[in-house]
């Protein structure tokens, strides 16, 4: 599933990040790397961005980016 469709307060693992090479680069530097565990903390209304927690840091990513990140629920 995509990050865009994820639910709040559930742990997900990032599987892959699609294209958009430069923004991918920044995501990786902020710790959003395939394999990282994230939780969606909140999303802004009106197709606003998502705020995710990755190892204690809060990262805001736009909806378009969220639709290009593949995630998987972990138990």
């Amino acid at each position: 599933m995509k990050l865009e469709d994820g639910k709040k307060n559930i742990k997900y693992k990032i599987l892959s990040i699609e294209g958009g090479c430069r923004s991918k680069d920044r995501l990786i530097k902020l710790g959003l790397i395939p394999g990282s565990i994230i939780t969606i903390e909140r999303s802004a209304p009106l197709k606003g961005p998502f705020m995710v927690d990755v190892s204690g840091s809060k990262i805001v990513v736009g909806r378009g980016i969220a639709s290009r990140i593949d995630i998987e629920e972990i138990f």
């Binding site: 430069r22 710790g31 606003g48 736009g62």
Partner: protein, 632 residues
């Protein structure tokens, strides 16, 4: 002289540390990307003078935006003897990635482990000795905000050693990297980067490194390595795992029981409904506080200077001398009495907003609205800074990625009324027409910015990138920092605007003394009187306003031939005041802003913005002239 560079990831406290070392020279704030250009300072360690350079934060040596590029350029071009790598202890895992890259430069370096207090609040306890052993670099724990550990850090500068270790990947990965590195060593010249790091970055797909490989015999090797290493992802994951390892081996993490205050505050401030309510309430409150605080002081000072003027009039009998003295005195009075009561609280409150860490949260809230204007949430940082001063607002566009975004943000930020223009909004429209007009004008301004943004988005080609922003924790700034920061922002006004005001006032008095005004006014009459229905005398004021917007209101009453600002309503009716205020709000940015725009987006952009704002101001002021008699 030893030259020391402060390098670290955005918002890790470089500028705060710099200010502790070299005195307040670098504006610090609590959002990633607050520093967009480098600042140099000097300090003594014992008897030795050292030079300290504060560089914009960068997540890695492979830059992403112009601010980061500036850092990498400085790192490789200037003669830096010692690198102080500032690491935010509370986000250590990702911060250490930069440390690993810096290690490969093989230059003397020290790690300053900052925000030890914040890390402990998060339940992270770092064993300094062990971290030092693992990294092979001297590590000094500091709390830059409080100045703790800074002395120790300075003492260590002289003993700084080259890193003893290098980042080693797994056998398979190293093998692939080696193939590329060896070829690059022989075939690619003119590269300042260490060859291995250079090759790794190329494999990871960092354009500026990759392009050196084009049309060399190393290109096939690079492509092979990319294939074998999953386009560099294998390297990235190994490096990340290594960083996690370093963290786990050097730090203990205790679970903290209670939910942090931060997430509680965020629950309100970033709430899908209340978040916006709070945001608007905060801004309305800011304008309200500045306005209600400013008007009584303005009144008080006007009265005092009226008395001084009356005293002068009865004691100086030479008319010309009287005019000159009065011009000078009025200039000083107006600057301290009219400008400062609005400027100071405004800049102080904006500093609070910047330092507590609220701006990135506004960026999150406003992202979807900003997309309608072809930019994303991060541009909000420019806009809010714009309420203080347009110059830093324009400079802040450096943390934006695409040309289109920068252009639109610079354009719109120059429409945000800076504190100098707010003096007119509050001191003229507010003073004579009331608080509701102040709020109305700010709301109208936002509306015009929104419309302009929508139009610009349609006109300019190109995709708009999306927001990726690290949200920093809330931090409580000290009053001292806030005051120093406000002073830093305001001193330009004291040193530059006040002398200009005095000279301007004297010029104005001389013009009217020698009756030049009728000649000058001829130039302005067609536009100002003909189209906008304003007194032609305001023309000179508007010209001075382009030099420095703070002069506008203060010179207005002098140009109108009045002895005090409280008499403006005797020559201008409310509709004219409104027209004038609207014109001032939008017309041509001041010269310093134009210069900043020119630097950030080029001459063509600066020219376009200058003309567009003039046209916009004339248009809106004209509409105001027609509509306002119906409402005021």
């Amino acid at each position: 002289m030893i030259s020391v560079a402060l390098i670290g990831q955005p918002n890790c406290g470089k500028s705060t540390l710099f200010n502790q070392i070299a005195g307040y020279k670098s504006l610090s704030a609590n959002f990633p990307g607050a520093t967009v250009s480098y600042t140099k300072g000097k300090t003594y360690i014992g008897n030795d003078l050292i030079e300290v350079i504060d560089l914009p934060g960068t997540y890695s040596l492979s830059w992403y935006d112009d601010a980061e590029k500036e850092t990498i350029k400085a790192l490789f071009s200037s003669d830096i003897d010692v690198i102080i790598n500032i690491v935010d202890a509370s986000t250590m895992i990702r911060s250490i990635e930069l440390t690993l890259e810096l290690m490969s430069l093989g230059r003397p370096m020290i790690v300053a482990l900052n925000m030890m207090d914040e890390a402990e609040n998060k339940g992270i306890y770092i064993n300094i000795e062990r971290l030092q052993d693992i990294l092979g670099i001297k590590v000094v724990p500091i709390i830059a905000k409080k100045g703790k550990g800074v002395k120790k850090l300075l003492e260590e500068i002289k003993n700084a050693q080259n890193p003893r270790k290098r980042c080693i990947y797994s056998k398979n990965v190293e093998k692939e990297i080696k193939k590329v590195t060896e070829c690059a060593k022989d075939n690619i010249k003119n590269v300042q980067w260490p060859c291995k790091l250079f090759s790794i970055k190329a494999i990871e797909g960092f354009g500026p490194c990759e392009k050196f490989f084009e049309e060399t015999e190393c290109k096939p090797l690079l492509d092979n390595a990319k294939n074998a290493l999953n386009n560099g992802l294998d390297i990235i994951q190994e490096r990340h795992a290594l960083c996690m390892n370093i963290f786990e081996n050097s730090a203990k993490v205790k679970k903290i029981r209670k939910k942090s205050i931060e997430s509680k505050i965020d629950k309100f401030l970033m709430h899908p409904v209340f978040g916006y309510v709070f945001m608007f309430a905060i801004f309305i409150l800011i304008f309200y506080v500045v306005f209600t605080g400013g008007v009584p002081i303005e009144n008080l000072v006007i009265k005092a200077f009226d008395k001084i003027d009356a005293y002068l009039a009865s004691n100086i009998h030479n008319k010309l001398l009287f005019s000159i003295v009065k011009g000078g005195i009025d200039g000083i009075g107006a600057a301290t009495g009219i400008a400062l009561p609005y400027l100071f609280p405004f800049l102080f409150i904006i500093s609070i907003l910047e330092d507590v860490g609220y701006l990135p949260r506004i960026a999150y809230l406003m992202d979807s609205t900003m997309h309608r204007m072809g930019v994303h949430g991060v541009s909000v940082i420019s806009f809010v800074a714009g309420y203080g001063c347009s110059v830093p607002a324009i400079m802040a566009t450096r943390i934006l990625k695409s040309k289109k975004e920068k252009y639109i943000t610079a354009f719109l930020a120059s429409l945000v009324p800076c504190s100098a223009r707010s003096i007119v909004i509050m001191g003229l429209a507010g003073y004579f027409l009331g608080y509701m007009y102040v709020m109305g004008l700010y709301a109208f301004n936002l509306f015009i910015i929104l419309i302009s943004g929508i139009i610009l988005k349609k006109l300019l080609p190109g995709m708009s990138p999306e927001i990726i922003l690290d949200i920093p924790p809330y931090r409580l700034p000290t009053i001292k920092t806030l005051l120093i920061k406000t002073w830093y922002k305001i001193k330009d006004f004291i040193y530059l605007a006040i002398p200009m005001l005095i000279v301007g006032s004297i010029i104005l008095t001389l013009i009217s003394y020698y009756k030049f005004d009728s000649y000058i006014n001829v130039i302005f009459t067609p536009l100002l009187t003909g189209v906008l229905g304003l007194p032609a005398a305001v023309g000179v004021v508007l010209i001075f306003g382009i030099l420095k917007k703070e002069l506008t209101l203060i010179m207005l009453y002098q140009a109108l031939g009045l002895s005090s600002i409280s008499m403006v309503n005797s020559v201008m009716n409310p509709a004219q005041m409104l027209t004038f205020t609207i014109f001032v709000m939008f017309y041509i940015p001041c010269v310093a802003t134009i210069a900043a725009i020119n630097k950030e987006i080029g001459t063509k952009g600066a020219t376009t913005i200058t003309f567009a704002t003039l046209v916009l101001a004339v248009l809106l002021a004209f509409i105001t002239k027609i509509v306002s008699p119906l409402i005021v």
